[in-house]
Symmetry: D2
Subunit: 362 residues, 4 copies
């Protein structure tokens, strides 16, 4: 059974390859009555778009979205919402060398092992090109969330690239504008400058670099998440690990938990006129797989892009030793464009769980 | 929509609370013809059982499994396989104080926020008691895997508790016997001794402690995993985060990816008579969400159990300040009993994906 | 992928065979806060129970239900609700002759063709024994419906057995008591008497007989049903065809549609203080797969039970010609016990769709 | 939870309205390696196309399909297969009168009751326009079936329109060419002539007419179908009832079962060199929800189209009495165009179950 659908009540099914005619997404379960315009989708696509700055891939895709169904007179109809994004800037010639070779670090080999063939055109479905539909769906998810719980805000930023670590004392106060004020999506302008310089240096060295993103979700009401298998953290982690290049995910104190004692990290409950909350937030906004109402804090590690324009050792599809120099227009660092994709995936999971929470009680 | 089913082709649905009459699991999609005996299940339950050593909870549950359906003359029939495990050692009196108070760090509050009531009997469904059915299902999953791909081995061990770090140079060579040779499930006997002493000290201080587990999966054929949303790493991470207390999950180089360069971590392909593999395994056995055939390396961080028998500040269910001292028979450290649960969840995901891979090609 | 789960939001998963230790059902997605007692379930099981009258199977099963989880202090908790019903009156000796022969008209052969083995103990999972869990789930479904839309009433009755047709002028006014006033569940007492006599005659002739049931659902609000694949009629039909022996299902004018003209059967809309309805109800309560608010009218045809205690020609499992006389305690006519099973399946579908309708709009 | 996906392993998700820009379908779970050309899809779309003859709707849609993804070098890739069909001949002006009125017999009212708005443009998603994507998916399903079990043939024909009943003695021998030899898709040319004349007369009287279709499926191997809820007959019935205007479905002896005795209708098993089969086929090819290997025989009743160009009584969306004369280009009888849609839905279910059967045994 294939795995191109995510969500239970807000069901997102995507299709499309890097070098096919188009990418398309069908969202089933969008409730009727949500105000939605193409601009809502386009502005998120523009944040993900390749060629948006000097430190991203130079592929030029306008990524113009078209709504095919599910919206009538400016509102969602309750019927499936389909969005089409055509691929326009395709240079398959770049991929001739890969026709018979597996790129190191790339999914060429595993796709072949799985499906028995090798779609060498820009990685086919394994390319991060497919995340364009995730972002389109995420934009719709955000509109659902706006209706369900208008205080929800999902803000991600680049926390680290290589050894450069941003200094953000209170991530919970960050705005989208602050994050987008630098092309690397790091709101610490000093760190951002160094990150940009590092990425340019890495590209000039025909290499690539990894990094760390932190995402803060505010305003989730207490009670979202579905034990025991669809816990909110479990579902968020799955969604984030489904994004290419993610190698680690942690919530709250995360890997710091290993050395912690219960007496140090249990967050005490208090109550004020807005309700019950915790004094501290070491738990990171989720307990027992269900949101507590405190901000959810997530960190994701990303590996460097595997496609680098330098000679590497590999094998051909028939197992013969070979060397390969990967051409194509690749990002030297995925983090800046990862931020909108991660936010979109989180929005998809939250919209699904916000709808699911409407079923928890009679 | 509730979330008590995991898996697509091997579908595991569980039910049961800490202090109800029984826990039960229905597995749908077990192929017909698998040899299965109650002992296959019982021996895994015994590894998870409370009261198994001086460093675990002192609750005494025999955890005797009964197969209710789906097996005939020693083989699976293709019809749903149900397993029942009764709760026997219930001391609800321990929980009287919690009737009106939320335990800090526990899911009491979030369950109440979600469902509108407070099952104070040992945490109800939020208790790790429910993992007993996961282990039963995991035992069946292992039998499926044995039929699908007999070389698969899933071995977890305790890598770290507090500041004590085990020194395991080649985890890929560990055996179950080595892991189980110490009650803390750390095969480094020096570290194990210190870990046991630390846990006893922590318990005597009426506190609890976190830790880190590492799990190695060997023998998965290349090709398992379902892009783009049900990638193998995404599904494994979801399954692991669904286990109580997990705060972080990483694969391969994991969080170390942040500082890595592509040229350093791309694993080169080579070919020998057994097929194509990589020279190194920094990718951790999964590329593009699909297994490469190399060992899968996973690390999980667990927080300390929140239930500690010392006075903590909290609020009552009506929001009044209160203090609470959590009684009951709790583990001071979850790691030793986490290992069989994590292995079971991994087996469930792998069995599902092994079956799913049978559909990848015509 | 196996098929032992029905429903999307109210998810019912069943397990159990005719001659295994027990049947069990897990219901996931039962909203928290529904008042539920074991008696609610038991009274429906009693209506389905074998041995309830002289015209049913003589197997004696008390069918005592036990709630294993999901209910606390008399209310559902939102966590999975498991119900166990043990098999007690098992006479496997009755089935010795079937060990190596396929019973004509029975699923022995197809189960063997599918799963590669032959569970000769009373038909295993193919036996109508498994409907006991459907009825238990249906009882819970009715409680959900009572909370969602208290005016819903599901009343089925036996319309025809053999050539005896009941004369019910206004089925919409029938009560459960009227239906249950005769052991054949036909509220036309004249017809009922003849039906009972016919069934007794058929049994004495070591034969079996088919029949027709009509079910009326009143009080469904307009708007339930999920186009385009989960239309209310499509889901109801699927649920009814999943019950053993159903050979035909029709709604409203049903097969009479073949000779109808649009001008004759379009039901005109009118409006009164209770809302918009149709003057006539030839459409049978569903239009475009969505309930109109008018009564839903369904008719089901059932074939005679295949197990008859007379000699029939068949083959052995290895394909050799053989004769067989089916022993065991079988119903000579399924209709009386079909009624509570059909009502249960309808209740399950309606509960699911009632919950689903809560998602149609923001 | 919305309902626009059908199938478990072959998952078909559709989107699109009658008067929106396009209809689109994503098929997930198409195994890699199936030879597929656009012509395979187009020829089925051409059989369903409006305007194909004098007795169908006069809407002119070329219904040109475009494959957006999932096919590479003439073969399926295992990744999602998306097909786009644009709407070109839209005359929304035809629908001005319906803006504020509910058409009798149509789903206008129920869609409004469900979603809270009224898409008056040709019925929106309630229009049979959406079946265009079903036919596209059915064409792919047939290619899957061809790989799984090349002897499967699905042939439907028009058995009855009004009082005209075709005389087909052995439907199992019918070919597609025979069926398509008349524009009404009735292979009995005498009956066909009368049916065509009747439909033309009905149209001239500004009325519409119902009918009956029979579909025969040959060559399904024994063993397909998933008890207890996804039985093959249950799934086929659901798929057929999901098609607009279907009011009844029966298998084998169907409603004739009511008067049958077990001794009359149990089909005896025999064995020859091709395997075990039944002497007669009163069971209609499915026993216990699983295929027997004998032909599956299905009959579907369809009501007359509700849209008729004559004055009818109704109410406005605000409940005021009104009269309406439905304009637009509607079919006077659905049967001829129903045949390819029914065949497509059956192919979708069979492809899903053929893939599912690959999981029945280890």
């Amino acid at each position: 059974m294939a795995g191109n659908t995510i969500g239970q009540l807000f069901r997102v099914t995507t299709a499309g390859e890097s070098h096919g005619p188009a990418n398309v997404v069908i969202m089933d379960g969008v409730p009727a009555g949500i105000v939605l315009a193409i601009e809502d989708i386009q502005k998120d696509l523009d944040r993900r778009r390749p060629g948006q700055s000097k430190i991203t891939s130079h592929r030029h895709e306008p990524d113009q979205a078209a709504i095919l169904s599910g919206v009538f007179e400016g509102k969602t109809t309750g019927t499936p919402l389909a969005i089409l994004i055509r691929n326009t800037d395709i240079r398959s010639g770049d991929y001739d060398e890969m026709k018979d070779k597996y790129r190191p670090g790339h999914a060429d080999f595993t796709y072949d092992a799985k499906y028995g063939f090798h779609d060498y055109r820009g990685g086919g479905r394994a390319s991060a090109r497919e995340t364009v539909t995730r972002v389109a769906a995420g934009a719709v998810a955000k509109k659902i969330l706006l209706s369900l719980s208008p205080d929800i805000r999902i803000i991600g930023y680049v926390k680290q690239i290589g050894n450069i670590i941003s200094d953000i004392t209170d991530p919970a106060t960050l705005s989208l504008e602050q994050v987008d004020s630098t092309i690397v999506r790091c709101p610490d302008s000093n760190a951002a400058e160094k990150m940009i310089a590092l990425i340019e240096k890495i590209r000039s060295e025909r290499d690539s670099i990894g990094g760390l993103a932190e995402i803060i979700i505010q305003g989730i009401p207490a009670g979202w998440g579905e034990p025991v298998f669809d816990k909110l953290n479990a579902e968020l982690a799955r969604a984030l690990f489904s994004i290419p290049a993610v190698t680690g995910v942690e919530f709250g104190i995360g890997f710091g938990a290993s050395i912690a004692r219960g007496s140090e990290i249990n967050d005490s409950f208090v109550s004020d006129k807005t309700g019950i909350k915790t004094v501290t937030n070491r738990h990171g906004g989720i307990q027992g797989g269900i949101s507590t109402g405190m901000p959810v804090i997530i960190r994701c590690a990303l590996k460097p892009p595997s496609s680098i324009p330098r000679e590497q050792q590999t094998v051909t599809t028939s197992g013969q030793p070979a060397s390969i120099t990967v051409k194509g227009r690749h990002d030297p660092c995925l983090l800046p464009r990862f931020i909108p994709v991660a936010e979109a995936m989180i929005a998809i999971i939250l919209a699904d769980h916000g709808l699911r929470q409407r079923q928890a009680r009679i």
